[in-house]
Symmetry: C2
């Protein structure tokens, strides 16, 4: 099992260290991680009683919601192009 | 502070209960939550030693990565439309 095209990047998210293995470049992994860290801190500021697990799960829910909205917008944009081409 | 346009939806994600307050419809919140639950289980299957917090953080990182990729694709698509229009 070759690992040559895989990078290992160590990042800090909400005070804990994570080693992320994948095909993304280290600076990309760090950027993504810093956005997650930032979102966790925003959700914490809005609700200080949440423990770290709940905070992380709600961050994932929030991001998944953003993702699905963008997916809809993407499909809509693609649909409007196809309509023009017909 | 009016709460009339807000919904409260209770969902179960990875064995814990969450009450999500927002403007989204209940069935949408449940769908988003079930995708997060599913992703957490997939990451757990790939690495059974992770605790729930790490699992949730990595799920958030994974989803954020998908979101950013889609954002790039969206910008690219929009760019190609603008180019055609010029």
């Amino acid at each position: 099992m070759s690992q040559t095209d895989k990078t290992r990047t160590t990042v800090d998210i909400y005070g804990r260290s994570y080693t992320i293995v994948g095909t993304e470049r280290a600076h990309h992994v760090r950027m993504v991680s810093s956005l997650v860290d930032q979102k966790m801190r925003e959700i914490h500021d809005a609700n200080k009683s949440l423990d770290t697990t709940k905070l992380a799960v709600l961050t994932a829910v929030n991001t998944m919601n953003d993702y699905l909205k963008l997916k809809d917008e993407y499909a809509e944009l693609l649909g409007s192009i196809k309509q023009k081409e017909d």
